[in-house]
Structure formats: structure tokens, C-alpha cells
């Protein structure tokens, strides 16, 4: 039932490491965190989902909203993810076509 979010800077990128479950109960905290980064003019975001155990459409909606916000500033939001069960949720919803998903943080930072 817990969601933990840690933010770190990697070069130009702000990396959100997320642990736990993203659903209607916890998504508001993720949304606030993402909005506050955009308000701090951080427009290059990486959401590291390697430690995410569950996400549903409420969580996906938060990611879509954040992508819209950073794109408005010519930024980007990329996802680090290898867990096949979570990847499947991106695939069913075809969000794997609008988010760039990488297997490691290094792969994102290296471009």
C-alpha cells in the first residue's frame, strides 16, 4: 500500500525512483512530485519503475499528464522498466508507443 519516491539528479535528468504500488490511493503523491519538479523547471524527467510492484490506469494517467507538461517546455519524460508484468500494462494501453522505455538508467542518460 506504500509508495516511496526518491528524486536524484543525473546530469540534465531528474530521476524519480519509485517503489511500491501506484493506484488511486498513491497516484496523487506521484502527481504532486512531478508537478513540483516541473515548477522547478526540471523538464527532463526519468521515472525509474524498476521497483514498482503495481500500476493501473490511474498511475498511467499521471505519467501522461506529466509527459504533456514537460513536452510543453520541449522536455521529455522517459521510463526505466524491465518488469514484464508492468511492461504488459504499457503494451495493452499502447503507452509503450508514446513513452520511451529503457532497461537501465544508463541507457537513458547515455541518450
Amino acid at each position: 500500500m506504500d509508495l516511496r519516491i526518491d528524486v536524484a539528479e543525473h546530469g540534465d535528468w531528474s530521476v524519480l525512483q519509485i517503489r511500491g504500488e501506484i493506484d488511486i490511493a498513491t497516484a496523487p503523491r506521484l502527481r504532486e512530485q512531478l508537478i513540483s519538479l516541473v515548477n522547478d523547471q526540471r523538464y527532463q524527467l526519468v521515472v525509474d519503475m524498476e521497483a514498482v510492484e503495481f500500476i493501473d490506469s490511474t498511475g498511467l494517467g499521471v505519467l501522461i499528464g506529466a509527459l504533456k507538461r514537460v513536452r510543453a517546455h520541449d522536455g521529455d519524460l522517459q521510463v526505466v522498466l524491465t518488469n514484464t508484468r508492468i511492461l504488459k500494462v504499457f503494451e495493452i494501453t499502447q503507452l509503450d508507443t508514446i513513452f520511451r522505455i529503457s532497461p537501465t538508467l544508463d541507457a537513458v542518460v547515455a541518450g
Binding site: D56, S57, Q94, T97
Partner: protein, 161 residues
Amino acid sequence: MTSPDAGVETEVELVELDLPAKPEVVAVARLVVGALAAADPMFSEDRAADLRLAVSEACTNAIQAQRSRSNGSTVIEPINLRFELTPGCIAVTVEDHGGGFDPGELTTHPNITDPERLHHEGGLGIPLLQFLTDDLEFKATEEGTVVAMTFLSRADDGFEH
């Protein structure tokens, strides 16, 4: 849910769960359906994950409907979940008193690859339900909606229907 000394219980097993319409309980609903699926050896762990996701979506919609309807009122009615268990098949209903909706009249969002789609954070739940269930029905009640979902255990990972 089969026990070695059963035999007498050939009928459908029924589990019922009433939860307050609060965001925090969706995790409880997921846990329950996950445990019920895990108790049926015909359901794989991947298929159990499908059930957790679908129940999460249906409960989220039920809670949102109920909370937006009861705006201002002090009493929010519970949501009711029923699980009917037979080997290889789990039927779940999620009932709310949230006023109902017409599933035929849903806003169609732009295609996912259309940049316009980014303006809509919602609308992913029902498509997910359609994908994850073997049968999906929305039944209008006097007060709200019953979402009836049927899940078959599948050998495959759910991508092939």
C-alpha cells in the same frame, strides 16, 4: 480452493467483500482477488496479476463514481465485491451506488499516438478491463452500476485473444 476432504462442496464458492468507498481499500480488493486466484492452481501468477489489475480498475471507477455523487453528503455507501469461484474460472462483480453511466456514450479519446491524446489522463480503465476479462458487462442498477467480469485461467499470458 479445493481441499482434499471437500467432496461435499460441488457448488460454486462465493466470497463477498464490502469496502468503504475510499482510495485506500483498492489495495485490499487487489490482495483478496490475488489470493483467491493463487488458491486455484489453474490460474498462473501472470493471470492472477491480470485479475488484480482488472479489480483495481473496476474498484477505482466505483469509488470515483460514488465519491463524486456523494459530494457534500456525510455518508458514503460502501462498494460491494462478489467473487464466484469455480476451478479455472473466477467471476467478479463490483457494485457501486454512484449513479451509473452509459457505457455506450463514453467519450472517445483521440488515438494514443495522436499528440492530442496527452490532454486526457483518463479513459484507459475500461479498455484495460475489456482486454483483461473473458467477459465484461456493465449493468445499470437503480442506484449505480454492477460491473460483471469473468476471468478464465489461461495457459497463455493473456495477449492472445
